[in-house]
């Protein structure tokens, strides 16, 4: 096993090793150093939940309307759409001019956009956009 391990190019994993080493060092150093040099004061206001500097109100176990999640998922559709549009947009100008390639690529992206519209149509029929 060790003999065959030598044939693997271990050097190419060196950056990965350094990265892991740095991550571990950073985490451990932060904990140890704040323990060593940080002032340790405790009190009731330090024990409360952190709400971005505001005073926390109400209980954390509040129920949200499920529509928030539906809207979030519809929003994700936009995200996915844009992610796929970027590589398409950067490739499109590099296509050979004067051939039918451009039309084919346009057709493909239109097909893709059409599928997103189907997803919206589905959401619409399911009543995601109906607030009552």
């Amino acid at each position: 096993m060790l003999a065959t391990l030598a044939t693997v190019d271990v050097k190419s994993y060196l950056p990965l090793g350094i990265l892991i080493g740095m991550a571990v060092t950073f985490a451990v150093a932060n904990v140890v150093m704040s323990k060593m040099i940080g002032p340790s004061r405790d009190g009731p206001s330090k024990g409360i939940a952190y709400e971005s500097g505001m005073n926390p109100v109400g209980t954390a176990r509040k129920r949200f309307n499920v529509r928030f999640y539906l809207i979030a998922m519809v929003f994700l559709l936009f995200d996915i759409e844009v992610i796929f549009l970027y590589p398409w947009a950067t490739t499109f100008p590099n296509l050979e001019a004067g051939t039918s390639e451009g039309l084919v690529w346009l057709g493909r992206i239109l097909f893709f956009l059409l599928t997103t519209i189907v997803a919206y149509l589905y959401g619409f029929r399911k009543g995601v956009f109906r607030f009552d």
Binding site: M1, T4, L5, T7, V8, T115, V118, L121, Y122, R125, K126, G127
Partner: protein, 536 residues
């Protein structure tokens, strides 16, 4: 990558079909909603026809002939599964709407169910098209993710829905675990070879041999994918999930993820084994698969003996059948003829298994009984006793499919199993063949128990009746007829299975970027020429 679209027409058709069902299935018009099953069926038929016409032997494929076999197979068994699944969801809701209840799109799930049904079949087809690891991962996930939802949606009534929810959650979490394992394996395989393309991985192995990172990667990938085929040690979910979902969805789970997983395993081991210019698999991988196959067969069959619930019994039997198919994977391509090629045997067995297991589940899905005011699916052997007398069509279909699952001589399952035996013997795995034969004998006990119960015993008095969905009975009868028909005319499919199992081999070359490949029959000549050149 772009030229691959030419191989993807069946998948594109299924995708369009899924989009249509998704929108039309939510129509406020009840007649429109009823068309979803029809749309799914038509798109499956078109996909099967297009799949048959798929051009073979592209340069990026490790098993160049698999697509024209696997795609029509998935589409046509999918058509049978569709018949079994008609009425799996929305039956009570639609009846209530017909009786005057207002239509609420949030309560109707037929649109999602049929769309996910098509998406999952599309994923299984994409597995056959896979030419690299990332594609394979996405295809496997596309096969699995819809099935989690289908399991949950398939529960009927309050109690049934509770059970299907539990089954769905179990299936989802264990499926995510399996996906994590094989994804990690794929990553290590990439780390060990520097490429995700199957062809390039095979060339790398041919040139440099195995390395430990790639070996670990391949082991993890195989173990992870064995979740999809429900092989021991990743089988724990099977019985619970099959029991919790409706008969139709259980039939779906028994065929579609198993086919996708089996095709993936064939692609992965081809990459490292015969494609890398070796006669068989590397020892580490072979012993892993050997252990998986023996454990899967034995555990599956022994646990199936102990079940009182029919669905649990069939779940364990499906585990055992995965073990049988792994024997074919170990045997490898042999000399390429049907009797010696384990790959052809596996592909042909997938066809046999798809038809006969769908038939058995279709019979179960066609029957129901009253329990506490709710109609529930039949559960135990007592429920279906004397079925040949009370429901002759269903009863005899059950008998035929059960005997076929057992591998009873003149019926389809036997012809499926013989090539597994001959290919393993040809590759010199005598012990494995003996274990396979012993397991077939164990399996006889529980299959024959059902056959005897259905044929001989007096009719049960538990009030079993037809569910009133004719499509399911039709599916059961078609499966029975297909099992008998394929027993006679199966040689046609054996021929296409042999063609589908054609493998590519790459001669060991120092330059790993060389894309030259030598087809199977030319390989020995080329090697001989090289040998002559050296000796002169």
């Amino acid at each position: 990558m772009i030229e691959r679209i030419g191989y993807l027409w069946p998948e594109i058709v299924l995708f369009i079909g899924a989009c249509l069902t998704m929108v039309i299935g939510l129509s406020p018009n009840a007649d429109m909603r009823k068309q979803t099953g029809l749309i799914a069926g038509v798109s499956l038929l078109i996909a099967a026809a297009l799949g048959l016409a798929t051009p073979a032997a592209p340069t990026w494929a490790i098993l160049p002939g698999i697509m024209p076999f696997a795609k029509p197979l998935i589409a046509l068994v999918g058509l049978l599964l569709l018949l079994v699944n008609i009425g799996s969801v929305d039956r009570d809701e639609e009846a209530a709407i017909a009786a005057g209840k207002p239509f609420n799109p949030l309560r109707v799930t037929g649109a999602e169910f049929y769309a996910f049904f098509l998406f999952s079949l599309m994923g299984a087809m994409l597995c056959a098209t896979a030419g690299d690891l990332i594609w394979l991962f996405l295809a496997l996930e596309l096969t699995s993710l819809p099935t989690y939802v289908m399991v949950v949606l398939s529960g009927r009534g309050k109690k049934g829905f509770d059970r299907s929810q539990e089954a769905g959650v179990k299936y989802f979490f264990l499926g995510a675990l399996g996906a994590g394992i094989f994804l990690y394996g794929f990553a290590l395989l990439y780390g060990g070879t520097g490429t995700t393309q199957f062809v390039e991985i095979a060339q790398h192995f041919a040139a440099h041999g195995m390395n430990p990172i790639a070996t670990v990667g391949l082991v993890l990938a195989l173990v992870g994918v064995s979740f999809k085929i429900a092989a021991v040690p990743m089988h724990f979910y099977t019985a619970d999930v099959y029991q919790g979902s409706s008969g139709g969805v259980a039939a779906f789970l028994a065929f579609v993820p198993k086919t996708a997983g089996m095709i993936s395993i064939l692609l992965l081991v081809s990459t490292v084994g015969w494609a890398a210019g070796q006669g068989s698999l590397p020892p580490a991988i072979e012993s892993l698969l050997w252990a998986l196959a023996v454990l899967t067969m034995t555990v599956g069959n022994v646990l199936a003996l102990l079940q009182s619930s029919l669905k649990r019994m069939l779940a364990y039997s499906s585990i055992a059948h995965s073990g049988y198919m792994l024997v074919g994977v170990i045997a490898g391509p042999g000399d390429g003829s049907f009797v010696s090629s384990g790959i052809a045997a596996v592909l042909f067995y997938l066809l046999c298994y798809g038809v006969m297991s769908t038939g058995v589940f279709a019979v179960l899905a066609s029957l129901e009984r009253k329990s506490g005011g709710e109609a529930v699916e039949v559960e135990s052997l007592d429920d279906i006793k004397g079925l040949c007398r009370s429901h002759p069509w269903l009863g005899w279909s059950m008998v035929i499919c059960m005997l076929s699952l057992l591998g009873f001589p003149p019926i389809l399952g036997f012809f499926g199993k013989v090539p597994l035996f001959t290919s393993a013997l040809g590759a010199g795995h005598v012990v494995l063949v003996v274990i396979l034969a012993l397991n077939s004998a164990i399996a006889a006990f529980y299959y024959l128990r059902v056959v005897a119960g259905v044929m001989i015993d007096p009719e049960s008095d538990s009030g079993v009746r037809d569910t009133g969905v004719p499509a399911r009975v039709i599916a059961a009868v078609i499966s029975g007829v297909l099992v008998l028909g394929l027993s006679v005319f199966g040689n046609v499919f054996m021929g296409s299975g042999e063609k589908a199992a054609e493998v590519r081999r790459f001669v060991g070359q120092s330059d790993e970027h060389d894309t030259d490949s030598v087809p199977l029959d030319e390989h020995s000549e080329a090697a001989e020429d090289e040998h002559h050149a050296v000796s002169h």
